[in-house]
């Protein structure tokens, strides 16, 4: 990374003047924390006592047998407290907030996992908390909204634009410019103005550091390939950082193929041909936008991948060829989820399942003495309404109808 936050030609900090001083403070606090070995120790300690770190690396024996190729290992970020990798970043930023002395945190959320993690951190550290969430996502991730509110956070449904993640980010920035003095914006992914991409990736690197050791202990050597889903890119950056400097390990990021790349209804920025360089939400990256530079609507069955931009660090790693990008469609995701639940008794989040889809396509082509790692960024419980709907599950429907009637009577 360069002084002004660029990775190759991507990144930077395109921010309104009102935030300039706050970013100077944030950059300084982050530099100090990164240079201080005690900070990482405090972070690891917090993550091993309040969350479930190190998370296990699970050998998926049945899936391996089923596909008959490489040994499939799953990095279990779903076993973090609050059920996703998002907690890693949030707890790290929480420690920084304490150092900076701010009293209030805000966050955007798509799938609700980042909002959940932020509400949890705010409750634990005694901070006021407001979460911005697109109205569409409030609908599709209702259980997370319930829990955020129960933990004392205010959840604000965002009704502007496409009413998804990008609009929640805009609204969080509007709050931040209004309340800069008291408030820290806990950005949820490796996007946004510098230092966020680097900072979020640093906290998430704990995933890759663990996985790198675990795979050698369990399999005897590094993996042939590592798969991660890519929304903004934080879980992918997290697991990839354990292997970036080992050129023998191939890294694969999987984006939301939605209804197919040819349909236009997807969120594929780094594979496919629909994205182009742009500057929005404070940083330069590949965006899904039209020729005038207006952002387009995106689509994914997974709220957490339904986003127009992507980490500038990943745009750089795509451009220099270190990471390969693929996509998985909504239908492929539902099928892979079904298989994983039945064969391994594991329920990945819809976001994470995108990585499973691509791994399943490639595992049979690799030798039996090779291993691959799938980063399971989160657990699927939050998606119960979406998944039950996709499976068109009759007994679930009956239950919902009966519950609805019950509430109706009161």
């Amino acid at each position: 990374m360069t002084q002004d936050g660029f990775f190759g030609r991507w990144g930077g900090a395109y921010i309104p003047e009102i935030l300039h001083e706050t970013f100077e403070q944030l950059k300084a606090s982050f530099r100090q924390a990164k240079a201080d070995p005690l900070f990482w120790q405090e972070y690891q300690n917090l993550m091993s006592t309040y969350s479930c770190r190190p998370t296990p690396l699970t050998y998926a024996e049945n899936l391996t047998r089923h596909f008959g190729g490489a040994k499939i290992y799953i990095k279990r970020e779903d076993l973090n407290h609050t059920g996703a990798h998002k907690a890693n970043n949030v707890m790290g930023q929480g420690l920084l907030v304490k150092r900076m002395g701010k009293k209030r945190v805000i966050a955007e959320t798509g799938a609700g996992q980042h909002g959940m993690a932020t509400a949890t951190m705010a409750a634990k550290f005694g901070l006021a908390c407001t979460i911005y969430m697109g109205e569409v996502d409030v609908q599709r991730q209702r259980p997370n909204v319930f829990w955020m509110e129960k933990m004392g956070a205010t959840v604000v449904p965002v009704k502007d634009g496409s009413r998804t993640l990008k609009d929640a980010i805009n609204e969080a920035f509007r709050d931040w410019v209004t309340n800069v003095d008291s408030t820290h914006y806990v950005l949820g992914t490796a996007c946004g103005p510098a230092p966020f991409p680097e900072m979020v990736s640093w906290f998430q690197s704990i995933i890759g550091l663990e996985a790198k050791e675990q795979i050698v202990t369990q399999h005897g050597k590094p993996p042939a390939r590592v798969y991660a889903c890519v929304g903004g890119g934080s879980n992918a950056m997290g697991v990839f950082q354990g292997f970036l400097d080992n050129k023998d390990v191939e890294l694969i990021g999987v984006e939301a193929g939605g209804k197919g790349l040819a349909s236009g209804l997807h969120a594929a920025r780094l594979c496919g041909k629909d994205a182009s360089p742009g500057v929005a939400q404070g940083y330069k990256t590949m965006f899904l936008q039209n020729n005038d530079g207006q952002m387009r609507e995106t689509h994914s069955v997974a709220a957490g991948l339904d986003y127009v931009g992507v980490s500038p660090i990943l745009s750089h790693l795509a451009e220099n060829g270190r990471v390969r990008f693929e996509s998985a469609t909504d239908d492929e995701v539902i099928a892979a989820l079904d298989l994983t639940m039945r064969m391994e008794g594991i329920i990945p989040a819809l976001e994470s399942t995108h990585a499973f889809v691509q791994a399943f396509k490639e595992a049979p082509k690799l030798g039996r003495d090779e291993a691959i790692i799938i980063n399971q960024s989160g657990r699927g419980d939050k998606d119960i309404f979406t998944i039950a709907h996709a499976f068109d599950d009759p007994s679930w429907k009956e239950f919902i109808i009966a519950r609805g009637r019950e509430y109706d009577k009161k």
Binding site: D4, R174, Q289, D292, Q294
Partner: protein, 254 residues
């Protein structure tokens, strides 16, 4: 640059100048024409025309909605360029474009400046492009003589203001408070101290914007700044009462 010269000529006969804001294509270019005609007829000194963007991060609800509605109606950057050329040909006041950096970036920076210059646009306000991110942009601004207006905020330190001043031209846009466009501001004691800091940091004319809604607000900054910026208030007025209400509103401001 020519923008500063034009503003200074007007300042020779007026204690405070008025700059207004419109969102292009909202509710339509025809209404934009009517509103601008009324503004000019009632003495507005400078108009900033916002090219709509899908992610207007620094704008509050009123301007945000105007951006979205304009885009939904099909407004393109090419329409905005053509409209800018039409207005600056028709009226003898400086016209500026306000927009977000992605619009100029996607258009091609050099082509954007060329076309602005051809269209007679005198300055640009890009709230998400600090000078350290736009070295080439600020160089082109000088080459094409389209003034890059920069923003001071109450959170800017004296050192930062000095740094911004060295890249700015035309005038300095001082935002009156923290936050986004469209909410009320308090022009009290803290504000006076802030404006004094702005004045000390630059020789360029000072504009004050964010939350100026009526003649009292304009009076409160007269003598302390050179230009009062009326933003969201005229959009609200047109929404509520139609374009013909703009003339009397402007006439009553000073």
């Amino acid at each position: 640059m020519v923008l500063e010269k034009q503003l200074r000529e007007r300042l020779a006969t007026k204690k405070i100048l008025l700059m207004t804001h419109i969102v292009l294509g909202y509710p339509s270019f025809d209404v934009n024409r009517e509103v601008i005609a009324q503004m000019v007829a009632n003495g507005v000194d400078c108009i900033e025309m916002q090219i709509p963007f899908s992610e207007p991060m620094a704008d509050g609800p009123v301007i945000l909605k105007a951006n979205q509605d304009s885009l939904a109606a099909g407004t393109t950057v090419a329409d905005c360029m053509a409209f800018g050329a039409e207005m600056s040909k028709q009226y003898d006041i400086p016209f500026l474009f306000m927009t977000y950096y992605n619009i100029a970036f996607k258009y091609g920076e050099e082509k954007f400046f060329q076309n602005c210059r051809t269209a007679g646009i005198k300055g640009l306000i890009i709230p998400d492009l600090p000078p350290e991110m736009g070295v080439e942009f600020f160089r082109l601004a000088r080459e094409y003589q389209v003034a890059p207006v920069l923003i001071f905020a109450p959170t800017s330190t004296d050192a930062r203001m000095a740094e911004l001043n060295s890249s700015a031209a035309g005038f300095i846009y001082c935002v009156a408070r923290r936050g986004v466009t469209g909410k009320q501001s308090d022009f009290g004691e803290g504000f006076t101290t802030y404006l004094a800091r702005c004045r000390a940091a630059t020789k360029l004319p000072l504009a004050v914007g964010f939350g100026i809604r009526n003649s009292e607000d304009v009076a409160a900054i007269t003598g302390k700044a050179d230009i009062a910026v009326i933003g969201s208030e005229t959009i609200r007025l047109v929404d509520r009462e139609g374009p013909q209400a703009v003339g009397p509103f402007i006439a009553g401001l000073r």
